[in-house]
């Protein structure tokens, strides 16, 4: 450990002759860029699994209790028909995998790791060994989660929210080791997240390049920094809660079981005290990514840099005191519900500020419709829908009706797919050249973006209608209810959309793999961007820069500045003698 940190801090002399073996370079690497790639590969692989589970759920909802094509071998008892317990398992694991093993590894894991050191001008993370450990512990968590699919009784089936006592007593779901492994895996993942977040926070505070003041940091670094603080404070609550749940299941404690004097609502308080900051852990990095990409391709400074930073900080603070809106009809004191309504309405304000600032950034720009930009624009637009639909749930009387219906499913997917996943795609298209030293294919990129955007809306927008019609989430067969019969055609349309959405990811994966091997070599700064990562070679070597790290002279978004002849002005370019040094 001490040796690795020493190298990270004593750079230039060793940078040239740093010969590490295959295992130290590609597997147990302490290089933040390699760890970023590992997180990215983990997230993308799990994305396929999570997507397949979603399709299984969708098939059942559109054509209930009919054989699922291609799954006859797996569900041989029923000839390919999904049974209710398996259905519960499918949606539980879809959400668990997408949230914990796709969005978090890709956004916080991969791009947090990749961006923070490169964009603040550091040679690596503050604790490279801890960083490596953080990935491998996350990989262990993923492995444990995957093993759950193969144990008798099947995987966890109590929803990703694992409400006790359903999750606390094996007889209630019939799941034994599946739910145990679910708890253990998330416990292990909590440890990984703890290591990662401490590392991110320390790195941002201590390892910024000369001249990189806090208010010269790129917004994506701010976003990752704030996300890391949320991770540090929120994940341990979940880690403790799943440990308590496991004790209830194994050791006969009664934290959440009323039969032994426990309190089911305690689980909900703990879970959502983690769970609501978690939503912002999923979306803040994507907000940062959009804030990073919009100025580059609008060739304009970000509109209201300080407002962007302070609104993210406000979101982070408020995210701790809104969680009760998940529990309006749970039996929690309704007076408390009213207090949570107030805070929930308030947290919409910083999100609104960010949206208007993104629009302000586009105003008067010279917009280049590159693939990262298209995905970032889609993020902004879809996030608006996800944000606005949240206001319905914030209003307590409306939530009485909307709670636990497809309206909430629509809302969360507009935020997490429309927001986080489009943010992830934007980030991949934007940083791929730096990450792998090759450009991604534009034609395949368009073949991915446009159908994805179209089918995304076809899949998730009608869910609002289903929810308003009253369709409950997590039901196995809508046709069992008379009041839902008349809107079944929407379920069919949604499933067709979901199949299209899944197929639209094929060009992406083809493009990703093909470009890794055969993509055109990437120049140092293909997008003519200002931030520091674009001053390092593509891909950057171990320790990122040669003899010296760059010095920072200005903020990250000085596009089209009158100070420069070109329409960009890198953070590290020294000012002309006598010229003003620009803002910040």
């Amino acid at each position: 450990m001490s040796a690795t940190t020493a190298t990270a801090h004593a750079p230039a002399a060793h940078a040239g002759h740093h010969e590490l073996g295959f295992i130290r370079t590609y597997i147990f690497s302490t290089d933040h860029k390699m760890i970023a790639r590992q997180f990215l590969f983990l997230g993308l692989a799990m994305f396929i699994l999570g997507g397949v589970l979603a399709l299984v759920v969708r098939w059942q909802l559109a054509w209930p209790e009919t054989p699922i094509p291609g799954l006859g071998w797996l569900l041989s008892d029923t000839g390919g028909v999904l049974e209710p317990a398996e259905y519960n398992m499918a949606f539980t694991m879809h959400a668990t995998i997408m949230i914990f093993f796709v969005v978090m590894p890709i956004l916080a894991g991969a791009f947090g790791n990749f961006c923070i050191p490169l964009m603040i001008g550091a040679r690596d993370m503050a604790f490279p060994f801890l960083n490596m450990l953080s990935f491998w512990v996350a990989a262990l968590a993923a492995l444990l989660m995957l093993i759950g699919f193969f144990v008798p009784g099947g995987h966890a089936a109590a929803g990703w929210t694992a409400y006790a006592p359903l999750s606390a007593v094996p007889e209630f779901t019939g799941t034994d080791w599946g739910q145990n492994l679910w708890c253990i895996s998330l416990f292990v993942l909590g440890i990984s997240s703890l290591m990662g977040s401490i590392n991110y926070i320390t790195t941002v505070i201590n390892m910024r390049a000369p001249g990189m003041k806090f208010f010269r940091m790129p917004l994506v670094v701010w976003a990752m920094f704030i996300t890391a603080i949320l991770l540090l404070l929120a994940l341990p609550v979940l880690t403790s809660a799943v440990a308590m749940l496991l004790f209830d299941r194994w050791l006969g404690t009664s934290w959440f079981k009323p039969s032994g004097g426990g309190e089911p609502l305690l689980w909900q308080h703990l879970f959502w005290y983690f769970g609501h900051p978690e939503v912002y852990i999923l979306i803040l990095p994507a907000m940062g990514i959009a804030s990073e990409i919009l100025p580059v391709f609008a060739r304009k400074p970000i509109f209201g840099y300080h407002a962007m930073v302070f609104s993210m900080i406000a979101i982070a603070f408020l995210s701790w005191i809104v969680y009760g809106h998940h529990m309006f009809v749970s039996g929690m004191n309704p007076a408390l519900g009213m207090a949570f309504m107030v805070t929930t309405m308030i947290i919409a304000v910083p999100s609104a500020i960010k949206t208007f600032n993104w629009l302000g950034t586009l105003w008067g720009g010279r917009i280049r419709f590159t693939l990262p930009m298209l995905n970032a624009l889609a993020f902004v637009w879809m996030f608006v829908i996800g944000g606005l639909s949240g206001i319905f749930m914030a209003s307590t009387p409306v939530d009485i009706y909307i709670q636990d219906t497809y309206f909430i499913v629509a809302h969360i997917h507009y935020v997490v797919f429309g927001g986080s996943i489009f943010g992830a795609f934007a980030a991949i298209y934007y940083w791929f050249p730096k990450m792998f030293g090759r450009m991604m294919n534009t034609v395949l990129g368009h073949l991915h973006f446009w159908p994805t955007f179209l089918f995304f809306n076809l899949t998730f927008f009608p869910m609002h209608i289903l929810g308003v019609g009253g369709q409950m989430r997590r039901i196995y067969n809508p046709l069992q209810y008379e009041f839902l019969q008349h809107q079944q055609h929407w379920n069919v349309i949604i499933t067709i959309g979901a199949i299209g959405l899944a197929l639209s990811q094929i060009p992406f994966f083809v493009n990703f793999v093909w470009s890794l091997v055969k993509g055109a070599p990437a120049p140092v700064n293909p997008w003519q961007a200002n931030t520091l990562e674009w001053t390092a070679p593509s891909p950057p070597p171990h320790l990122n820069w040669g003899a010296t790290v760059p010095t920072v002279y200005r903020g990250p978004y000085e596009y089209s500045s009158p100070e420069a002849a070109e329409d960009w002005l890198p953070q590290s370019r020294p000012p002309l003698r006598g010229a003003p040094t620009g803002r910040h």
Binding site: P84, Y163, P165, F172, L377, I400, T405, I475
Partner: protein
């Protein structure tokens, strides 16, 4: 607009919920249209064209204050407008003599009436499975309990939802405005039989309800309902066919 998507409302407070829903719907729709028009026209107007340089600006404090304060005001107003309906539905309990106990279990609603003595927990209580009869035009108080996991008492057409939590007794109320037969699904995941856990609420005009009570609960003459101890054996509805529940305690 959109009202044809909401199921028909038949409860007194349902119109308050629907009014709030529609208000938010119109406000968010207007905001969405405004943002979308701005967004799309900026994209079209400011696309990259030769010979033009992007506007070099870092923001505008006045504009930023406006777009902070205006949404904040709208949201504060929405909060205040939400308070009366919420306190009416969840924080007040209108006086009523119609009290019904609903005990949820995997995967049925056990609906208990107090019987001729008017008290719960006595020998003459009458329990029905997945079937509830209520009067129209009178507040009905439902005392919700659960004997295993969390369930949620959801009557879409009453705009009412309230979780039933094991170990707790939670009261909810409603007043139906029109006679009819209304679905009562469970809205909280409660196990493999969650889907299909559903009861029916029959709302009768006052006289008809009195007759139903006299015949089935009150007068003590041969009750049509099965005794509550047979609850787990399975009732006539589809929900009850799924192994008749798995009460473990």
């Amino acid at each position: 607009m959109l009202s044809w998507w909401l199921p028909e409302n038949v409860s007194t407070f349902g119109q308050d919920v629907d009014w709030m829903f529609h208000l938010i719907y119109y406000i968010t729709a207007a905001v969405f249209v405004l943002v979308t028009v701005t967004f799309l026209s900026f994209i079209a107007l400011y696309r990259d064209r030769p010979g033009r340089r992007a506007r070099f600006t870092h923001g505008n404090t006045a504009v930023e204050i406006v777009w902070t304060v205006v949404p904040a005001l709208i949201l504060v107003i929405l909060t205040f407008l939400s308070v009366p309906a919420w306190s009416k539905i969840k924080m007040t309990m209108p006086p009523t003599d119609t009290v019904i106990q609903v005990t949820a279990k995997q995967f049925n609603w056990q609906v208990t009436y107090p019987g001729p003595d008017g008290r719960f927990g006595t020998e003459d209580d009458k329990t029905f499975i997945d079937e509830m009869h209520v009067p129209v035009g009178k507040p009905v108080r439902v005392v919700l309990r659960s004997q295993d996991v969390i369930h949620s008492f959801f009557v879409p057409q009453f705009r009412l939802k309230q979780d039933a939590v094991p170990g707790r007794e939670i009261s909810a109320w409603f007043e139906v405005t029109r006679p009819g037969k209304y679905e009562l699904p469970c809205a909280e995941l409660c196990g493999f039989g969650h889907s299909g856990m559903r009861g029916w609420i029959y709302a009768h005009p006052a006289e008809e309800y009195a007759r139903w009570v006299a015949e089935n609960v009150g007068a003590g003459a041969a009750p049509a309902a099965e005794p509550k101890t047979d609850a787990a054996a399975g009732g006539p509805t589809p929900a009850a066919t799924q192994e008749g529940g798995k009460a473990t305690r």
